[in-house]
Symmetry: C2
Subunit: 206 residues, 2 copies
């Protein structure tokens, strides 16, 4: 198999961290997004939405969508579990994964995509008013994570999970999106220090 990758971008990075936590090594082809290498016809045949990452299996089957790729590896190699083992664990992790994705990563990415000059050619049309509206959505999402992390070690409870991976990649995108972390989110900062210090946080990066 082969992973079509760009580990600096938040979605491919999620898969890279997930694989590092599992100790799984997969051959990579790293594509250049600013040079629009992901917008080729070859990529379109693998993922009609032309988004990375894409996992190409040995029989040619293409899996896109970062969480779907993670699910595949979770099923192939359950240890260490990053998506839960019992029904309630699996559901709780999926809930926090989705909160991190829809309420934090999505808003932060929308700030970047709709406000940053570097995205003018890739996000058409840029809607600056939508970018601005997402600052407040991002803050609301971050506040939710902070409240949660006042109660728990990791987002889904006592164990590190895919929900933490999504939230870490979101928060590391804030600089690019020109959003500052509020100084009073102490629990979120404690958690961020913990998850950033894991070796997996550097996975795929030079």
């Amino acid at each position: 198999m082969k992973l079509l990758d760009q580990p600096q971008a938040p979605n491919p990075r999620r898969v890279n961290i997930f694989l590092a936590e599992k100790g799984i090594d997969v051959p990579r082809d790293v594509l250049n997004i600013p040079k629009k290498e992901h917008l080729s016809d070859e990529i379109k045949a693998l993922n009609p939405m032309q988004r990375l990452p894409i996992l190409v299996l040995d029989d040619g089957t293409a899996l896109s969508e970062s969480v779907a790729i993670c699910r595949y590896f979770e099923e192939l190699q359950p240890e260490p579990p990053l998506m839960g083992t019992t029904a309630i664990d699996k559901a709780t992790i999926e809930m926090w994964q989705r909160h991190a994705e829809f309420d934090v990563l999505g808003p932060i990415a929308s700030c970047f995509r709709h406000l940053h000059p570097a995205m003018a050619e890739l996000e058409v049309p840029q809607v600056p008013a939508w970018g601005e509206a997402n600052r407040e959505r991002a803050m609301k999402g971050l506040a939710m994570l902070n409240d949660r992390l006042e109660q728990t070690t990791y987002l889904a409870g006592d164990s590190f999970s895919i929900a933490d991976i999504t939230a870490l990649c979101a928060i590391d995108m804030m600089k690019l999106a020109r959003i500052e972390m509020p100084s009073d989110f102490a629990a979120l900062k404690r958690w961020y220090g913990d998850v950033s210090a894991r070796p997996s946080a550097k996975a795929g990066l030079a």
Copy 2:
């Protein structure tokens, strides 16, 4: 357990269809969204984002996020499988579920939320330019589904799955979002006729 519900809204409807396919009956409390019953402090304590549906377990644990709730029931009662059984099936279904959610339901919901006068008080700020931009995104997503359904019976392959549920709820929201189905999406129309005719499509509705 108890499901805090509003089966007309697309996300709660996803859970209602999922439960009907499983043959699982759960007591419901139906909330009135136009009357903002979901914006109470009681709901905020259960889901900080104040979105429905919410599943409240007997011990008081609250699960939010429609797909997380579905995951819980899939684990409790695997038959009939709606989220896959093998690694590749689970990943393929998750991929198409996410395509249906991010590339179809999301854009259609954004048209509705940012353009419809009925949403002026619930979506603050409404950004009409973002609503308009989502018409094209919705069309691109629908075209992807149509292309896929020229090859397969259901979105993830030979079996009905949660991906079909998400896409059905998205397409049924098009009327509200004032988006017309292009007349040349024959495969999508064939599939829509099939999934709409399933008894589960009416689940939760009077």
